[in-house]
């Protein structure tokens, strides 16, 4: 039996989470980590995306914005491996793919949250976040069921990791509560927690603040910034609330009718004529 069931990177990650990681440079924006080139996506006759290219640098917060139906979620689904683009390629950490499935993407270190929560409503907060550790678990189902030595040790290590996430997201009071009983804002936080449990290098957030009140939005913004800051996680997010986007992102891509109409820092995008037209109408 393999004794080294606890992935060494797990132990390191726990230590990192606990000891507030390496100082200073976690937040320094680095090289291009994700490069999207000439992506087009068609559903039969409908063109959802046309020739989209942009890149994401390591440790940055990258926003994708656009009016309803602009193709934001489709774009995310392409990166995520849920949709296979009709044309174009995605390069992640130097490896180029024309198509891949979502499990492969997850194994490469890309995690996501969902616009319409996809949590296990009847399970506790703890178990939901624990489910995010799925890919990291080495022992098999029989070892786990019988709680044989290494399986138990492994579970303890994973639980420790999950507890750090619970502490980080300040949901200790709800650890044992079934997710379905929590208010919406907290469910969103659990969704984020589950994605974090994968120790992602890139985190895709699909409208993390949809349907929230001002206070919940402020909390969520703070958590996103903290994730980026404390763990150095690269974040790609889709958001409707322009105020939030402009406040927290480093660079913004703007889509409209499946085409890219703007790309740059929040200030550049704010002054981009095409963007203003798309949002405010041609008469502006």
């Amino acid at each position: 039996m393999n004794d080294a069931v606890i992935a060494p990177e797990t132990a390191a990650a726990v230590a990192g989470l606990a000891g507030a990681a390496a100082p200073n440079d976690a937040r320094k924006i680095g090289e291009v980590i994700l490069d999207v080139k000439n992506i087009s996506l068609r559903f039969g006759g409908v063109k959802a995306l046309t020739d989209i290219s942009f890149n994401v640098r390591e440790h940055e917060i990258r926003a994708i914005i656009g009016p309803n139906g602009a193709g934001k979620s489709s774009m995310l689904n392409c990166i995520n491996g849920v949709y296979t683009p009709s044309e174009g390629s995605i390069t992640f950490r130097g490896r180029t793919f024309s198509h891949m499935n979502s499990r492969q993407v997850a194994e490469m270190g890309v995690a996501r949250t969902f616009q319409n929560l996809a949590l296990f409503k009847g399970m506790s907060v703890l178990d939901n976040i624990m489910s995010g550790r799925n890919l990291k678990i080495r022992s098999n189902i029989f070892q786990q069921a019988l709680r044989i030595g290494p399986a138990e040790r492994e579970e303890i290590a994973h639980r420790e990791f999950v507890e750090h996430i619970i502490d980080f997201l300040e949901i200790q009071a709800h650890r044992k509560t079934p997710v379905g009983q929590l208010p919406y804002g907290l469910q969103k936080r659990v969704d984020l927690g589950r994605a974090l449990a994968m120790e992602p290098q890139v985190l895709l957030l699909d409208e993390p603040m949809a349907g929230m009140n001002v206070e919940e939005k402020q909390d969520m913004s703070r958590f996103i910034l903290d994730v980026n800051d404390e763990f150095g996680t690269t974040i790609v997010l889709i958001e409707h609330d322009m105020g939030v986007v402009m406040d927290i992102s480093d660079r913004v891509v703007v889509l409209d009718y499946g085409k890219k109409i703007g790309d740059g820092t929040p200030d550049e995008v704010r002054n981009n004529e095409d963007v203003i037209r798309a949002y405010l109408g041609a008469g502006h």
């Binding site: 507030a20 990681a21 100082p23 200073n24 976690a26 937040r27 639980r159 420790e160 507890e163 750090h164 619970i166 502490d167 980080f168 300040e170 200790q172 009071a173 650890r175 903290d226 800051d229 404390e230």
Partner: protein, 649 residues
């Protein structure tokens, strides 16, 4: 023999180094500090402070929730002959600035980013609010602070590392410094919220607090085997008594909850044997039990009803060991198995030996409920100026309407005007830098003037009626004790706060605050839709319910000698909750009567003028510091008054 707090800590570490001193729940697990580790951490923090230049005669401000290192920081500071000054964690910037400036604190200990931000803001501030002297800020929780580069900001872990370095050059420094601290030195400065004026710093010595702690420990036979949940604000005199003074005197274990929201869960896990809570916490427990009972299966509801009847009849007698008929004893035993036991377990009260409440009057139904299910709930009485130690109820001598007899070593006297005077070893030495204020409360004979009006009954029990300065007269001549009436109102779970007016007027009028949880729940149950606090507070159905409560109080007052004339004539339900952030309440949630009267003068005039409604707009401060306004047109209602009931002679 009197000692100092650092000496007591040394003693525990010597006698039982491995016994648990503190616990804190973190990452889902209770982490334990043994007495040895507690002393080591205290030493290293103290030496770290010393290496930064902190020493005797200096003050160190402390702000944060209950954390082991925060409590140990108190002792570290005391070891060096310095004085810790805890501040309320929800205090607004101006209040903190006042304390920091008056105590000339160059050092502060903050729990987390939120508090560090406040302190940094004060340090950088301008004009009146500035505290430029704050050179060193030590923080416990590093979350979010990694990229702060402000001068003098240091984590407590780094502070301890400095302490270890310092220790190598000065191995005996810590012990030498402790030996120089005298029992008569100031151990802590606790700021009182002050219902009327700016806060005053109460200076208490080691021997004063240790005497108070020893008295309590002796009366309730506390020992190293006891467990306490430390969840009340560390800036409050009561928490310093329970979580520091009695902890070090008795050597029990204090347990710090994971966060403010998890207190109820942590309480269940720890099962404290000794517990302290203001009445509102007990009220919250009872409310949550009642709400959950209403949602329970019919059979459970039936059992609950049946056995609570038994408990009401004989529970209190069973608790104090009075003789009870065999049949009742059997039903109570069965009830304990089926209802009281599980209830106590759900509230985390299974192992309670002694529970205290103080700070405000407790409702009769509430008090009886806990005692009847076997929780030894008692009352005590004290102030910050008396180390929260004047009277306490001894086992077997618990009366509902008194706060008990004078505690060991305390001398009680009632002044001519009815004010309660206290003399003991546990009195303040002075208000910090305020000799004139000190002279007002400490007289030549050494009595402290509490400012409370009270009477001592035939058994030597003290009964508090009201604040002495609040007691007034109606124009008709009847005595008007506003707190007395307000407490009766607040005993209804639907009423969160009440303010009565009547001094120098012909009748009594009242402001009420609904309890948003209780009334909100009631509205949901009735299918009554509401949009928020303001809307709910103005609903006709809610007003009718409030009217019924007021009339019940009037009926009670009608039956009490001397109180018949102070029945409430008119009242209104306020559109906003009275809030410490708006200066309407003190941080310990006592009404600032004068301030409220001034702020809502329009409403009072309208009440006395007999108007049916009045428009009002009020400025409010939100929790994040932004300001806004709420407005509403409030309805004013008349309450039925009752003819005086004369008891048959």
């Amino acid at each position: 023999m009197t000692a100092t707090f650092p000496q007591l800590l040394q003693q525990h570490a010597r006698q039982r180094p491995q016994a648990p001193a503190l616990r804190e729940k973190e990452f889902g697990i209770w982490q334990t500090w043994s007495w040895q580790r507690a002393l080591d951490d205290t030493r290293h923090m103290a030496l770290g402070l010393a290496s930064l230049g902190f020493g005797a005669g200096q003050n160190l401000a402390v702000v944060g929730d209950n954390r082991p290192l925060l409590y140990l920081m108190f002792v570290s500071v005391q070891s060096l002959g310095g004085v810790p000054v805890p501040m309320y964690q929800d205090a607004v910037a101006a209040e903190m600035a006042f304390v920091l400036r008056e105590t000339e604190a160059h050092f502060a200990f903050a729990e987390d980013q939120e508090q560090v931000d406040k302190l940094l803001e004060l340090r950088a501030g301008e004009g009146d609010a500035a505290v430029p002297g704050l050179a060193h800020i030590i923080y416990d929780d590093p979350r979010g602070l990694r990229n702060y580069r402000d001068a003098g900001l240091i984590s407590v872990q780094d502070l301890m590392a400095l302490g270890r370095q310092f220790e190598q050059q000065h191995p005996d420094y810590f012990e030498q410094q402790i030996a120089r601290v005298k029992p008569g030195d100031t151990a802590i400065i606790l700021y009182t919220s002050g219902t009327t004026s700016r806060p005053k710093g109460v200076c208490q010595t080691h021997q004063a607090y240790i005497a108070a702690a020893e008295g309590g420990v002796a009366v309730d036979k506390l020992s190293g085997a006891d467990n306490v949940l430390s969840y009340l604000p560390p800036a409050w005199a009561g928490d310093f008594l329970f979580s520091v003074a009695q902890w070090l005197v008795a050597g029990f274990t204090i347990n710090c909850p994971e966060s403010a929201e998890t207190v109820a869960i942590d309480m269940r896990e720890i099962g404290p044997t000794y517990y302290f809570a203001p009445p509102r916490v007990f009220e919250g427990m009872l409310t949550s039990v009642s709400i959950r009972m209403e949602d329970a299966a019919p059979i459970k509801q039936w059992m609950h009803r049946k056995f609570m009847e038994v408990a009401r009849r004989v529970g209190a007698d069973v608790l104090v060991g009075k003789p009870v008929a065999l049949g009742d004893r059997l039903s109570y035993g069965l009830g304990n198995l089926l209802v009281y036991g599980p209830l106590k377990n759900a509230m985390g009260l299974s192992r309670i030996r002694v529970a205290y409440t103080a700070g405000a009057a407790i409702g009769p139904d509430l008090f009886r409920f806990f005692r009847s299910i076997g929780v030894n709930l008692k009352q005590l009485y004290g102030q910050t100026e008396t180390c929260a130690y004047v009277c306490l109820q001894k086992d077997g001598q618990v009366k509902l309407d008194t706060v008990g007899q004078a505690a060991p070593g305390v001398e009680l006297k009632i002044a001519d005007g009815g004010e309660v005077l206290v003399r003991s070893h546990s009195l303040l030495t002075e208000y910090y830098k305020r000799p004139e204020a000190t002279a007002e409360v400490l007289d030549a004979e050494g009595f402290f003037h509490t400012g409370d009006a009270g009477v001592i009954d035939a058994d030597g029990h003290l009964r508090i009626i009201d604040r002495a300065k609040d007691v007034g007269r109606l124009t008709g001549g009847a005595m008007f004790a506003p707190n007395y009436i307000e407490n009766k109102l607040k005993f209804f779970p639907q009423i969160k706060e009440a303010v009565c007016f009547g001094d120098g007027r012909d009748r009594v009028c009242a402001f009420l605050n609904i309890d948003f949880d209780a009334v909100g729940n009631w509205a949901e149950r009735k299918g009554l839709p509401y949009a928020g606090y303001v809307d709910l507070a103005g609903k006709p159905d809610v007003l009718t319910m409030m009217q019924e409560c007021v009339e019940k109080v009037n009926a009670e007052l009608a039956g009490e000698e001397g109180m018949q004339d102070t029945q409430i004539a008119r009242f209104l339900v306020l559109h906003k909750e009275l809030d410490p952030d708006d200066d309407e309440l003190t941080r310990t949630r006592k009404v600032r009567r004068g301030f409220v009267a001034e702020k809502y003068a329009v409403l009072i005039d309208a009440l006395y003028a007999g108007r049916a409604e009045q428009f009002i707009e009020t400025a409010v401060k939100f929790e994040d510091g932004r300001a806004g306004a709420v407005s509403a047109t409030l309805r004013m209602l008349d309450a039925k008054r009752f003819a005086a009931v004369r008891k048959a002679a």
